[in-house]
Amino acid sequence: MKKKVISTILSLCLVGSLLCGCGDKEVDNVQSSDNSQGNVTEESSAGTNEEADAADSNGEVEEWEGEISHIVLTWLTDASDNVYMDQIVEQVNEISRKKAGVEIEVRQVTVFDAPSAYTRWIGGQEQVDLMLVAYTGISPYIQMSMIEPLDELIAEYGPHIAALHEEGKPIYDTDPAEGIYGLMALPVNYGIGGALQVYTDVLEETELPYKDGDRLTLEQVDEVVRAVYALHPETTVGGIVGSAPRGTWGAVVDTLGTSIASGALVGVNSTTVVNYFESEEYQAYLKLVRGWYEDGIVIKDAATIDVTLAPSIVDGTGRCLLNLNDAKPDLTENYELTVNGRDISCLFMTEKYLPSPSSTENGYWTIPVTSGDPAAAMRFLDLMYSDKDIVNLLTMGIKDLNYYFIDEENGVIQYSTENPMWAMSLYGNNELLYLASQNYQELKAQNDAWNKEALSNTTKGYGFCYDSSAMISQITAIDAVLNEYRGALECGSVDLDTVYPEFIKKLKANGIDEVIADKQAQFNAWLAEQ
């Protein structure tokens, strides 16, 4: 009997504790929202000088007086979760509650898992209010009605976003038929310009008449590479490793907002969509790299080495004296004009130009259909494009913990040892980010010059985004062909005479011409409206 009583009591305790578990969460939520409202009143009456300054610097913002909305924001990581996230969210919320009446909750997910996680979350009707779609196409999300159109929300709640658009920043991802669906994470610098980067002392050693900033033809690039190789036979061309596509650095290519699988404009003034892989520019690039491969300048395993990003000019082994890359100045990382105390020269292979933005190369902020409060989501999004503190909190972390100021006036910082370098620089307007460089003045000037040149040299397709929904089967099949051939061809690892014709034949068999015709028709219609 005693045993029975004890076991009954124990079971009741167990059930009770389970129920407590359920109850606690609700209580917590209520508490947190109570607190949050408390904070608003408390802070609105106190308000530190610093915050007031920040508010001033970001334009006159009235303090939010209505109800505080709770939104869920996705935060992409490279591998592991950001351990400082709770502190960051706390500080972000302090600002966003006051300025936009929003408090955020962050859902961390790795950039690799994000696409499947998004489908799962939205399919499972889970609340996600702001979703960052990065490095993949945005059109499947539109086609499957996973995200909301943003036009009306921007008009009502996104004045800063609309202003950035007015300034001519490539911020909107526009589906030609249905309107705006994504907002691009604005980079520090716009546009593209392919270049060969060489240590200046090595370039001088070759006694060739080229200097930093020169425009070179592919033959001249070949001349430099071979001259460096002759002097330093241990060198290899950085940038030509891994399976990441790199065959477009030698030409002006605009893929019109989607992947290159659907054709591209070649040249700044072109209005004809072509199969880039059939172009003379691409063939010339392939010949160049094949020559390097045959002569041992490109490593034999280049196509299968696990490097998805181009390595920096020094790969740690000292083998890369040359690097083929997009040569934008980089203000967000500890990138200097010199590497290991040696100056670098950029020999450009193309002009600096601005193609139509594409979500496959960047990140787009979207509002999913499972958003609990799209208006609140847009209000927070507007802060991400206008509030310096929010952008820096989300990207750089916490002041005096993850970074400290070197020059607060000019917004120059140094990362602390507590900085895990997690930032993907995709949280709103990166122009508002602090600079993490000692040479910021020189780099800033270089960056401004770059932006000016790129923004003034837009392609004819700039502003157009191809709607690929009718051709999705073909594009998927073409993508598979590109995956099969591009890596090996663009690293020079395979024989051009046999493999290249096979590649082109397979592209055609998979319907690339049909897709190009469709893209051209849409583009013509868009051009006629301009």
């Binding site: 299968t304 099969e484 998979n510």
Partner: protein, 311 residues
Amino acid sequence: MSILTKKKGKHIRWGRVIMAYIMLLPGLLYLLINNYLPMYGITIAFRQLDFKKGILKSPFCGLKNFKFLFVSGSLGPIMRNTILYNLVFMVLGTIFAIAVAILFNELQNKVAKKFYQTSILFPYLMSMVVVSSLVFNFLSADSGFINNSIIEPLTGNTISFYQEKKWWPFILTIVYLWKGIGFSMVLYLSTILGISKDYYEAARVDGATKWQQITNITLPLLKPMVITMSILNISKICTSDFGLFYQVPRNSGAIYSVTQTLDTYVYNALMNQNNISMSSAASVMQAFIGFVLVIGSNMIIRRISAEDAIF
């Protein structure tokens, strides 16, 4: 009288098995939740998915989602690779696993037995990513062991294994056997250990050699196990070990025509698309072919030897 006995018999049997059924219940529930409930998702393969409307209200679009598999001529080589590799793996995997299991059975030294068993099972426990690095360290054209220590000193040239198709059917088969044999060997070894020693004793008395004992006792008694394993494998003939076909060849495009299987093709094609209707379509096709093959092979086995068929 006869009715009474029947009733009594039935009653007694039910009483005995009721506990077994209760014990079966969690497993059945698991199967139902994990394997049967998600099957309603098959419908995704035939719909133009619209998250606003939900899965069941999205409009049907016929076989449109399957189209990307058939657009080009690539489906032929892909299916050939998928099915032929699986057949080769099935045949060689079974032969080698049985051979090794028999050898193990003959080992008398217990320490040696444990040592060999652990070492042969060890690769099975390794992640394919690790295996991929090991293989790369062997085959790399710049720094690989085979090129640096064998081929280059002998011939003066190197072989770019990752760019040349002809090596890969062998490399993949060797890697598969090296990695997987430890596990399948254990299954056969457990069956062999279950064979009564009396048979072997009787055979020895009759003067049978070791080889005769193997061919006349061990192999025939292993037959049901081989058939069960084969049917299970046939059901998976359209699926492939993603790690083996994606990680080990390092996704090298130049050798796709001999390394690409349906799984890696779908992954490569849809990596940038996040289109779950199309990936469902590929899965449905795999499942359908697997289903037809299982039913088909079971039917054939039933014709040949009815007692060995699974159902």
